[in-house]
C-alpha cells in the first residue's frame, strides 16, 4: 500500500473509533429497536395488554395501597402527593446518580433510600413484596413514556462499567450479553426468540417465575443461564449494567408491568 493510502486508512480508523466513543451510537439502529413484547407469543402479548388480568397489576394495586400507608410515621403520599402526578416520568430517568450520596440508584434503590432516610422505616428487602409492589406502582405511572437516562457527568464511569460488562464474555458457557441480545436478537434459541434485552417493562410478571420480579432478578437468570457466578442482590455490577441497558433502550416506552415468558 502506498504511504498516502496507509495514513488515510489510519485516519479513517481513528475517526471511526473517536465517533464510536464520543458519539455513543447504539449498535442496534433506532429504527430496529424493539421491546421484548414484540418477540412474545400472541398469548403473552394479550396477557400484558389486558389491563385487568395482567397479573402484574396485582402488585401495582398493592403498591397503590402502600403508597398511602405510613411507614415509620410517614407515607409516600405525605411528601409526593398523588403518584399519578408526582411520579409521572420518574421511571424513565432511572438509574440515576443520587446527588446527596453520589451513588448510582435504580428505582428500587431510590425507594429503599426514601424508606430508610426520609421515612425512618426499614429499607425493604430486595425482591420483597413491599419493594416489588412500590416499584411496580411507581414505574406504572410512566407507562407509555419513553426511556431517557443521562449518561454524562458523574454517571459516566458507571455507564462505561455497564457497557464493559455487556460486551464481556462470562461464565462456563463463555457468552456476553451482546452475543445473544445484539448479535442474535430475532433468531430462535431452542424454541424461544431471542429479544434485544431491554429493561423497559420492569418489574415484570415472568411466567417462568410465576411471580413479579425486578431487572436484577432477570439479570441473575441470565447469569445462571451462562453458568456465571450469580452476584448478590444489590451488587454494583447490576446497577451499572442496568444503566447501560436503559441507555440502550432509549426511546422505548415503559410498559410496567410487563408480562414475559
Amino acid at each position: 500500500m502506498k504511504g498516502g493510502g496507509a495514513s488515510l486508512l489510519i485516519a479513517a480508523l481513528l475517526a471511526a473509533w473517536a465517533y464510536g466513543a464520543a458519539g455513543q451510537e447504539r449498535r442496534i439502529p433506532t429504527g430496529e429497536l424493539r421491546s421484548g413484547i414484540a418477540f412474545a407469543s400472541p398469548e403473552v402479548r394479550a396477557m400484558q395488554a389486558d389491563e385487568f388480568s395482567n397479573p402484574g397489576m396485582l402488585w401495582v394495586e398493592k403498591g397503590e395501597k402502600l403508597w398511602s400507608t405510613p411507614a415509620g410515621g410517614r407515607s409516600c403520599a405525605d411528601c409526593h402527593g398523588e403518584a399519578g402526578t408526582s411520579m409521572k416520568g420518574a421511571a424513565t430517568r432511572y438509574p440515576a446518580i443520587d446527588r446527596a450520596s453520589g451513588q448510582l440508584l435504580n428505582l428500587e434503590g431510590r425507594i429503599r433510600q426514601c424508606r430508610s432516610e426520609r421515612q425512618g422505616a426499614a429499607a425493604p428487602r430486595y425482591e420483597s413484596e413491599e419493594l416489588l409492589a412500590l416499584t411496580a406502582y411507581v414505574a406504572h405511572q410512566s407507562r407509555g413514556m419513553p426511556i431517557e437516562v443521562a449518561i454524562d457527568g458523574a454517571v459516566r464511569p458507571h455507564f462505561e462499567a455497564g457497557r464493559a460488562f455487556f460486551y464481556r464474555r462470562i461464565g462456563q458457557v463463555n457468552l456476553s450479553c451482546a452475543n445473544c441480545h445484539e448479535q442474535n436478537w430475532g433468531r430462535t434459541l431452542l424454541s424461544e426468540t431471542i429479544t434485544q434485552g431491554h429493561p423497559n417493562a420492569y418489574p415484570i410478571y415472568r411466567i417462568e417465575w410465576q411471580t413479579l420480579g425486578s431487572v436484577e432478578h432477570r439479570l441473575r437468570g441470565c447469569l445462571s443461564a451462562v453458568r456465571a457466578e450469580i452476584l448478590p442482590y444489590g451488587a454494583p455490577e447490576y446497577r451499572d449494567l442496568e444503566l447501560f441497558l436503559a441507555w440502550r433502550a432509549k426511546g422505548l416506552p415503559v410498559e410496567t408491568p410487563g408480562v414475559r415468558r
Partner: protein, 151 residues
C-alpha cells in the same frame, strides 16, 4: 438480520392454509374407562360436540396457558350446563378443575389459565341438565425455556 420467529411463521403458514392457530379436537375418542372420565360420567357415554375447548397450539411456557371452554346451551331454567370437567393427559394431577354452572349462568363459557406439564391433550367434558355428557379435546405443544433460570 432479523429472521421471523417460528411462531410468526407457523401463524403465517396457518393463515395461508386456513389452518386453526387455536388447537381444536384432535378427533380422538373419549375413553369411557379412563378414570378421569368414569368418575364424572359413571359410564354414561360421552358424545362429541356442543363443547368447544380452545387452547393455543403452541404454549411458550407450561406454567400459564390460556384456556377457554364454551358449551352450546340455551342456559335456560330447564336446559343448562350443570358442570364442566377439565382433565389432563400428562399432568401429575390429571383432574385439573371442575366448574359448576347452573340455570343462572346465562352463558356456558369459562376462561382460565392452566398449567400443563409438557406437550399433551386436554379434555373438557360437560354435564348437561338432561343427564347427557359432551366433550372436546385440544392438543397443546408445550415448549421449554431455552436457558435454565436457576436464579
Amino acid at each position: 438480520m432479523n429472521r421471523p420467529g417460528r411462531r410468526r411463521f407457523v401463524a403465517g403458514l396457518a393463515g395461508a392454509m386456513a389452518l386453526p392457530v387455536v388447537s381444536r379436537a384432535a378427533g380422538a375418542q373419549i375413553d369411557s374407562l379412563d378414570p378421569m372420565v368414569w368418575v364424572f360420567t359413571k359410564g354414561v357415554p360421552v358424545q362429541k360436540g356442543r363443547v368447544k375447548l380452545e387452547l393455543p397450539v403452541l404454549a411458550d411456557n407450561g406454567n400459564s396457558v390460556p384456556l377457554t371452554v364454551t358449551v352450546d346451551s340455551p342456559m335456560s331454567a330447564t336446559e343448562y350446563v350443570k358442570s364442566i370437567h377439565l382433565f389432563s393427559e400428562k399432568n401429575p394431577v390429571r383432574d385439573m378443575a371442575r366448574f359448576y354452572l347452573g340455570p343462572r349462568g346465562g352463558r356456558a363459557k369459562v376462561v382460565t389459565r392452566v398449567r400443563l406439564a409438557g406437550t399433551q391433550t386436554v379434555t373438557a367434558i360437560a354435564a348437561l341438565s338432561d343427564g347427557s355428557f359432551w366433550s372436546d379435546s385440544a392438543h397443546v405443544q408445550v415448549t421449554l425455556s431455552a436457558c435454565m433460570d436457576e436464579s
